[in-house]
Symmetry: C2
Subunit: 225 residues, 2 copies
Amino acid sequence: MKLYNFFRSGTSFRVRIALNLKGLPYVYQPVHLPKGEHRQDAYRAISPDSLVPTLDVQGDPDQALLSQSMAIIEYLDETHPTPPLLPADALGRAQVRALAQTVACEIHPINNLRILKYLVGTLKLSDEQRNDWYNHWTVEGLKSYERRLQDLARQRAAAGLPPSVYSYGDTPTLADCCLVPQVVNGTRFGLVYEDLPLTMAAFDACMKLPAFEQAHPRNCPDFEA
Amino acid sequence: MKLYNFFRSGTSFRVRIALNLKGLPYVYQPVHLPKGEHRQDAYRAISPDSLVPTLDVQGDPDQALLSQSMAIIEYLDETHPTPPLLPADALGRAQVRALAQTVACEIHPINNLRILKYLVGTLKLSDEQRNDWYNHWTVEGLKSYERRLQDLARQRAAAGLPPSVYSYGDTPTLADCCLVPQVVNGTRFGLVYEDLPLTMAAFDACMKLPAFEQAHPRNCPDFEA
């Protein structure tokens, strides 16, 4: 498999984590977003929407170029089921997907590079307004994430289950693949995470695992300080 | 089942379509977003993040409050498999999910009510700037959607398959549940859809089905002109 991605891209980071958790080797193919490599013809032939990541599953039963990080991770989970990144029951899967989508639909899309560029480039907002924007939506979204974890913790306690180690249960899931890159990204903007005890406990537990640490931007071959 | 939702909410519309396609009866519980009902304590007890839709699957094997529209639709597809809203093969599922996420992660989050309010209320942008914003991201996203459909059409033709009737194949999928509300929403902002032949053909095919037409905002009990 070959992953077209960029070290700082949060959606790329999600897929790197999933590949590592599954123990799947892959070729790391950097696409330099600030230099605009994703908009050049060579990459447009790979990705019709000029977005990273793209996973080329050559060698897998399917020969295809896959895009959209959550769709890629679900594909990997279906074709390489061990270890699972979603619970075995439908309700658990719904809860993990809702956590993942809290990041992937409520935080990340509003705060990615092209949006921040539009705010400053087209709308002529100041860097301060841009950073306030980033922080506002990230904090709002992570508070939602925390409320979900608190709800799930109450449900587990009521059912006599021990507290979750990660976002959902005692193994990392699709939710953690989305959470960790968002938290890491926020630190670039100087965000200090307060009042997010369960969220940050899940983050800390993940970062102790090599699969997460090795996928971190600072450990990518195209990393720039 | 009871669906907490709002007639004009695109994510609510997605779930209404899926419930109709599955032939599942539900109680329609309106939550008036412009009046701020989603932020009141009564609804906060239902939805920790004050977002619609929430599906209360009382009566289903699980007694739970589900949120995030794509997670809800996948839950419905798993617990009520007929008719399926995702293809039977992993690659097909990845492609349908990627289409759905092109709407759900690349268009809708940037253009929903709270974002548009922030642009005008907090950033003091003009209505014209807000509408330009809306149109820019919707058009960009639907162009991506169209490029995906063109790619898939080429793949089908190469495999000797007939053209898709809907976004993917000859039955509606999760992708159509996301596409149709986005297209309908754009018309409120005066968007004219050009150069989207496959996308609009899929939209038109969907709107001929009662499941889509009955889920349309104009046919909701809380509809306001």
